[in-house]
């Protein structure tokens, strides 16, 4: 396997931790099939993991080593990048990448600092920002605006469990960062966007504007089905961003911002 950057490793895995191999051919999670690439490691430091998943220092994780990477022996230390496999009394993961030096561990996130302070933190921040930029490039209209009106747009003829319950938000715009639309000029204007107001599980993460809410809104042109309701729609959790993201748009030459 060719050398991979820290950012690539983080971006292609769901969890990262620095750990020391304790046992080969064993599992700390009952029921996990074991071979000579199954190792039990002791976590020295969690580097990228959500709070729901406990990877505190000293905890054990079973790692199915990648067949593309060298085997390890007891006592070896590495930074593991992995995807989930089993959650039981402990956790088992499938390795997707590995760093043997301290590139990541040495730069582990320092929670007390507000600014990115490590290679890992920097890589995570870059991945997040890349995602935003990609999303911004896909948006048809980006405006700094606040919500001035919310109204139900359409009652379905026949109710379904997973109805989106379309509503329309009207935005008062003071800056157009990308794109154009009727009713918008240099000094701003107003624009409307349809959004799913349902709290059904299917729509729970769609953005749901609140009265008076302000920020940077990434809007997408509506398709034929929704065009009669509004020219734009909100359809992604990243469609509302803090206005400070305007700087990132400028840095990447997106729109007129």
């Amino acid at each position: 396997m060719a050398d991979r950057s820290l950012k690539d490793l983080i971006g292609s895995s769901q969890v990262a931790f620095a750990a020391t191999v304790q046992a080969i051919g064993q599992s700390s999670v009952p029921g996990v099939a074991v071979d000579d690439r199954t190792v039990v490691v002791r976590v020295d430091q969690a580097l990228n993991a959500p709070p729901e998943v406990e990877l505190g220092a000293g905890s054990q994780v079973t790692v199915q080593l990648s067949g593309d990477l060298p085997k390890l022996k007891v006592g070896d230390q590495a930074t593991f990048f992995a995807d989930p496999a089993v959650y039981g009394d402990g956790i088992a993961v499938s390795e997707v990448g590995r760093l043997r030096d301290d590139t990541a561990a040495a730069g582990a996130r320092a929670a007390s600092l507000e600014e990115p302070s490590s290679n890992m933190e920097q890589a995570l921040a870059e991945i997040e920002q890349d995602s935003f930029i990609t999303h911004a490039e896909e948006a048809d209209l980006i405006v700094r605006a606040r919500v001035v009106r919310l109204e139900e747009a359409q009652t379905p003829e026949l109710a379904r469990e997973h109805d989106p319950l379309w509503w329309v938000a009207t935005f008062e715009v003071d800056l157009v960062a990308k794109g154009d639309a009727p009713g918008l000029g240099e000094g701003g204007g107003s624009v409307s966007a349809v959004y799913a107001n349902s709290i059904d599980i299917q729509w729970r993460k769609w953005p749901k504007p609140k009265a008076g809410q302000g920020g940077l809104w990434l809007l997408h042109k509506t398709g034929e089905e929704l065009a009669a309701l509004a020219p734009f729609q909100l359809l992604h959790p990243e469609d509302l961003q803090p206005s400070t993201q305007l700087d990132a748009l400028r840095e990447h030459g997106i729109g007129d911002a």
């Binding site: 769901q14 969890v15 999670v29 009952p30 029921g31 996990v32 099939a33 993991a49 959500p50 709070p51 729901e52 998943v53 406990e54 505190g56 905890s59 995807d83 989930p84 496999a85 089993v86 959650y87 039981g88 009394d89 402990g90 956790i91 088992a92 499938s94 009652t155 003829e157 026949l158 109710a159 379904r160 469990e161 997973h162 109805d163 319950l165 349902s198 709290i199 059904d200 599980i201 299917q202 729970r204």
Partner: protein, 460 residues
Amino acid sequence: MPLTVVNMIPKSLSGETQQDSEPNIAVNPENPLQIVGSAFTPDPLNGNRAPIFVSTDGGMSWSLRTIVPGGPATRDISVAFADRGGALYAGTLSFSTVALNVLRTRNPFAVTPMTLLDDRGDEDQPWVSAATAGTGAGKDRVYIGHNNFNTSPRTASVELSRDARTAPAPAGFVSRVLERRSNVGQDGPPIRTAVHPDGTVYAAFHRWVSSLPSGPLDFSIDVVMTRDDNWGGGSTPFRALTDPSDNRAGRRVARNRFIRFTGSTGPLGQERIGADLAVAVDPSDSDKVWLAWCDRVGGATSTDWTVHLRRSTNRGQTWGTERRKVTNAKNPTIAVNAHGVTGFMFQQLRGTGAARRWVTVLELSGDAFRTRTRHVLHTALASDPPRQFLPYLGDYIRLLAVGDDFYGVFSGSNLPDAANFPSGVTYQRNANWNTHTLLRADNSTPVQVSVDPFFVHHSP
């Protein structure tokens, strides 16, 4: 111990706070120690596959395997084992595409992703049941009730395969429409199936007859039972049972019932209503079939949501009087064990105002509910935890019987208070039962209360 209740969240996820609602369960009849569960539980690490719950010790302990393709979680999901061979089948609405996915794995206890057998958009609420026909290894017969909007207005359908275990995709799966009458433009979401080893397959659904002037969410429905006597074979299955009033396939067990279909609001506690249905067949006598559903007895001006339980002893041709009627309840589920004992589980909203509680009950009866044994499995304040999304507890729960044993699953508040579990409970996740506090894996940091799935096992 005859009755066991187990919180299914494993110890390593002691910090999780998701709304793990709408659970389902499958028990391997060849080895009832092997059990699989599902719920709206996302992969905590947000990977590209959703987890299922697995147990290899009869439900006493559980872990999660991330083997369901389609994203880090699922929308609707249900699961079933056939009688032999150990293959697990799942019907899901994909997290990524919302399409109906029919899935299979030869071994749900491994970490190999399930195989996609069928994939079709504009669908709702797949509900899987299965059996094995023939001798020796036999052939897996799989029946997935689904609301197929591609066939509107007659949407109540069953996706079935008569030989699903090993064939490559689509493994013989085809969709068959159950609805034979006109309707308001679609049928209701729940289509439930029950399979008997003699080849009898029952499938029930809500026929939405008409809209009502009392409101856009008000409908008049029929509760319809269909039957096939040869494993759903041929191009026009499920026509063995006709209604004497119009000679069409599908016996209308209840007619012109009022429902308020609150798909995205929650008038029953924090839960939505409008689509509750269950069916079960006696494994020792396919003539005996049970049906449960919910409707609003009081009509448009009422607030009730009432479970009805009825039985037929002549293959669905006629139906006796109501065996149970439970007000302000939902999620009925039925199973019949090898000795003809009927299990009936449901979730009832009891009390008033801020004191209202969700109460999950298992009732057992060997005499068609002339007498019954009642077990309260769980009781918790209806207002806590706050809803994260709908459905709050789920649009269904499930009860199964293997031999004489009943196996079930429900979702509810995970507040660690012994008073909430009158029949006892076992937690895998960390909790302080004296302070009624959930704890993270460090066994000291408090965790907020959420909705968890709970496994139920009753052994005579």
